[in-house]
């Protein structure tokens, strides 16, 4: 969920939280999971113990809280996963693996009741042993009217959570859902001691809180009796808030921090050209897009949409924005590595004539206003300018309106008809499509309402025949590419950088940046 944070810009919690949840929900759906190619520098080598790991991360805020319910951004995810564990985790292969739970299963055939068996002998930082009641308490933390937790959405279907044994938790759902366990992977689902205050940061995590200054730094030291013996290599971790991209790079280059996130693609080559720097890449992790609301003129005209799709120079965008990283989009929300990706749809390229043709066909309407701020996606302002220029060559006038990053997701996104937006890519087609293109989806940013589409989507979810299923997804993609309001020029790799001393990085597909934000317990420092 990259959202370039300039200091004047506010990152809207709500949207991101729920997107994250949705993302993980779907991540879990990839129970047939697939390994994503990551490009981590030092993987193979054997872990080295000890050392003080320093992270310089974007998106911290002085209003951050340790309570997982309020996490909204990479910075707190990374800090939170140092302190808290979740019941389940996403493995490097994208599969669900047990964390605090050793096993889990549906207790009823209709999957409306789930039983989680917890590992024994796990201790909280305060010495208390982990029991079922802690999990019950921690999960309930996200439920009920008063809770304003970002995890709330995950547990809406939950009707009851019981400690059915000292180390057994039983969750009852209003309706069957084979994918429920995935909910417990979510960043917000950190487990704390029963009745405890989450803002104290006491969990079962690999690291124990030493010092936390919101928006400044978090210092943690290794948890001596951490349950996962193969993790938590460094003695202590310092997570420093660095909202300025240049400052982050400077810190890495001057050896003040070991790892930074949110590397500007433009700086990538220069950065990687520096000795002692490795790039940590999570491939095609994010989709950059210009959604058009198909219910608003002039975008309600399919030819205009086509015109604009042809009028954007994707290569140029990739070259200038991503400096060759990432991949070119084809107005298709499904990433190329996805098994259901429709390879046969021809890649759309910049074509001024076609654009002009469709534009005329649409009656050459005026008043095409693209509202962007760097909150839409990093570089979206530059992208909009380039789009403007290339469209102009096709005789299409785009009026770029730069809106304040501040309040972008509140007042612009989903409100203005033509904006910039970004999505973290979901591992499964269903997740991606139902998230954005279902008629009733809250973030249906293109106002795409198509009953047939919805039906097919629902059908696919239960279709067990792979070929049929593949066909359905294919048709859906074709429809979106040809008629959809979503203009998707780019898929972006999440780029982080680290000193070459850092080992242990593994990309976690669908889990987001920095080894699914668990870099702290995975990384070690080579001498």
């Amino acid at each position: 969920m990259p959202s370039h944070k300039t200091i004047s810009n506010i990152l809207q919690p709500t949207r991101r939280q729920l997107l994250q949840n949705a993302g993980l929900l779907s991540a879990a759906l990839s129970a047939g999971g697939l390994m994503l190619p990551g490009s981590a520098g030092a993987q193979a080598a054997t872990p080295v113990k000890g050392g003080h790991l320093i992270l310089g991360l974007d998106t911290a805020s002085s209003s951050d809280r340790l309570d997982p319910a309020f996490y909204t951004e990479a910075y707190m995810y990374t800090v939170g996963f140092q302190l808290f564990n979740t019941v389940l985790e996403l493995g490097p292969d994208g599969k669900l693996i047990g964390a605090l739970a050793e096993s889990w299963e549906a207790a009823t055939p209709d999957a409306s009741k789930w039983v989680f068996k917890l590992k024994k002998g796990i201790q909280f930082h305060n010495g208390k042993e982990l029991v079922a009641q802690d999990v019950v308490y921690s999960l309930n933390h996200h439920r009920g009217e008063k809770s304003s937790s970002g995890g709330k959405g995950q547990l809406l279907a939950v009707t009851d959570i019981q400690a059915t044994d000292t180390h057994e938790v039983t969750v009852t759902l209003s309706a069957g859902n084979a994918d429920f366990p995935a909910a417990l992977v979510d960043y917000h689902m950190g487990i704390g001691p029963d009745g405890g205050d989450f803002d104290k940061g006491i969990g079962t995590g690999a690291f124990i809180l030493e010092d936390f200054q919101p928006g400044v730094r978090a210092l943690t030291k290794r948890n001596p009796n951490y349950w996962a013996s193969d993790r938590a290599h460094v003695d202590s971790v310092e997570t420093i808030a660095m909202s300025d991209a240049t400052a982050r790079m400077a810190a890495l280059l001057s050896g003040q921090v070991h790892i930074i996130n949110r590397v500007e693609p433009r700086a990538l080559n220069l950065l990687s050209s520096r000795p002692g720097v490795q790039i940590l890449r999570s491939q095609e992790n994010t989709m950059f897009c210009f959604p058009m609301r198909v219910d608003a003129a002039p975008y309600d005209n399919v030819d205009l949409r086509l015109a604009l799709k042809y009028a954007i120079d994707r290569e140029e965008l990739q070259k200038s924005l991503l400096v060759g990283t990432g991949a070119i989009g084809n107005d298709n929300p499904i990433a190329s590595w996805n098994p259901y990706f429709a390879k046969d749809i021809p890649q759309r390229a910049y074509d001024a004539d076609k654009a002009a043709f469709h534009f005329k066909k649409a009656g050459s309407p005026g008043g095409i206003q693209l509202s962007v701020s760097d909150n839409g996606f990093p570089g979206s302002v530059d992208a909009a300018q380039l789009f403007q220029a290339s469209a102009a060559k096709a005789g299409i006038t785009i009026d770029v309106e730069r809106v304040p990053s501040d309040g972008y997701w509140d007042e612009v996104w989903l409100k203005k008809p033509f904006v910039a937006s970004n999505w973290s890519v979901r591992p499964t087609a269903d997740a991606m499509l139902s998230l954005i293109f279902q008629s009733e989806a809250p973030w249906n940013e293109t106002a795409w309402r198509d009953e047939a589409f919805d039906k097919l989507l629902a059908a696919a979810r239960v279709e067990l025949d792979e070929t049929k299923r593949k066909q359905i997804y294919h048709d859906l993609q074709v429809k979106l590419v040809d008629e959809g309001g979503e203009l998707i020029p780019l898929f972006v790799d999440n780029l982080a950088a680290a000193s070459e001393k850092v080992g242990g990085y593994v990309p976690v597909p669908g889990g987001g940046d920095l080894s699914g934000y668990r870099i702290a317990e995975r990384a070690w420092l080579n001498a």
Binding site: S8, A245, A267, R274, S320, D374, A384, Q385, Q388
Partner: protein, 276 residues
């Protein structure tokens, strides 16, 4: 303008620099080889025939960006400074001429304005209002007006005491006449200097606002935005990244040189000349 000191080399440099800037701003459409946002090369290409100063962070011709940027920078800085002076000088003079409670009220209000942190003011206002040039100019003008008020009031306060102003009052002249005819002409040279300094300040202030993302809107960019766009390059010693910042500095220096020249004291170190 009368009684300016003789031209010094430094002053000459300053004048030339400022003139050059204004020319850039005025003739941007003719001077800029490329449109503002046209991509002509790779990221941070070295200078070439096509891109005299190399290309910027997304491969646009830096020279063209600079030229267009000069225009934006100039327009905003000049406008805001002009407005600031319109407000600041008229109020400042009025306060000085009327003295008494009018002066007190205006001055205290001004103190109040100055006590409100510039930063908060800019942040709040620019957050509240739509980000467009008009708002930007007005915000900058308001903030600068307070400083202008302070100085121009001081200038006028000195002149008001002079007999020829009293004579005018005795004649029954209107305040406006006294301000325009008796005070303004004699305040010109310090005001001119102040104008220069405010203009320089406006340029820096604007660039800071742009750096904070509160500034100029695309596709145009002021010099401050250019620095911001290219700042990453600074770390890697990219030539192009240095230019916009250097340009701002050079311009501000030139303005100050001119100001210093206007203000050059004829009074000596060794004591004022008295008759004898």
């Amino acid at each position: 303008m009368k009684n300016l000191p003789p031209l010094t080399p430094m002053a000459l440099i300053g004048l030339v620099g400022v003139a050059a800037f204004i020319v850039l701003a005025a003739f941007a459409p003719w001077l800029a080889p490329h449109p503002v946002s046209e991509v002509v090369g790779g990221v941070w290409d070295v200078p070439s025939a096509d891109a005299l100063l190399g290309t910027d962070n997304i491969g646009r011709d830096l020279f063209s960006r600079l030229v267009w940027g000069a225009r934006v920078t100039f327009v905003i800085a000049a406008l805001s400074t002009a407005i600031a002076f319109l407000i600041g000088v008229s109020l400042g003079f009025y306060a000085a001429v009327r003295r008494g409670w009018i002066d007190q009220i205006l001055s205290r209000l001004n103190d109040l304005m100055m006590a409100i942190p510039t930063l908060i003011f800019a942040l709040v206002v620019l957050a509240v209002l739509p980000k467009n040039m008009v708002v930007l100019v007005l915000v900058m003008a308001t903030l600068e007006a307070t400083r202008v008020f302070r100085v121009s009031r001081a200038i006028a306060a000195d002149l008001v005491g002079l007999d020829y102003v009293e004579v005018a009052r005795l004649r029954g002249e209107s305040w406006s006449w006294i301000i325009v005819r008796e005070i303004l002409p004699n305040a010109l040279s310090p005001l001119l200097a102040e104008l220069g300094l405010r203009f320089a300040f406006a340029i820096l202030f604007l660039s800071t606002l742009s750096f904070l993302g509160l500034g100029v809107q695309p596709p145009i960019a002021d010099w401050g935005s250019l620095v911001k766009e290219n700042k990453d390059g600074l770390l890697f010693g990219i030539f192009a990244a240095l230019i916009p910042g250097a340009a701002i500095a050079a311009l501000v220096i030139c303005v100050n040189l001119v100001v210093d020249w206007i203000l050059r004291k004829t009074t000596s170190l060794k004591g004022a000349r008295r008759n004898g």
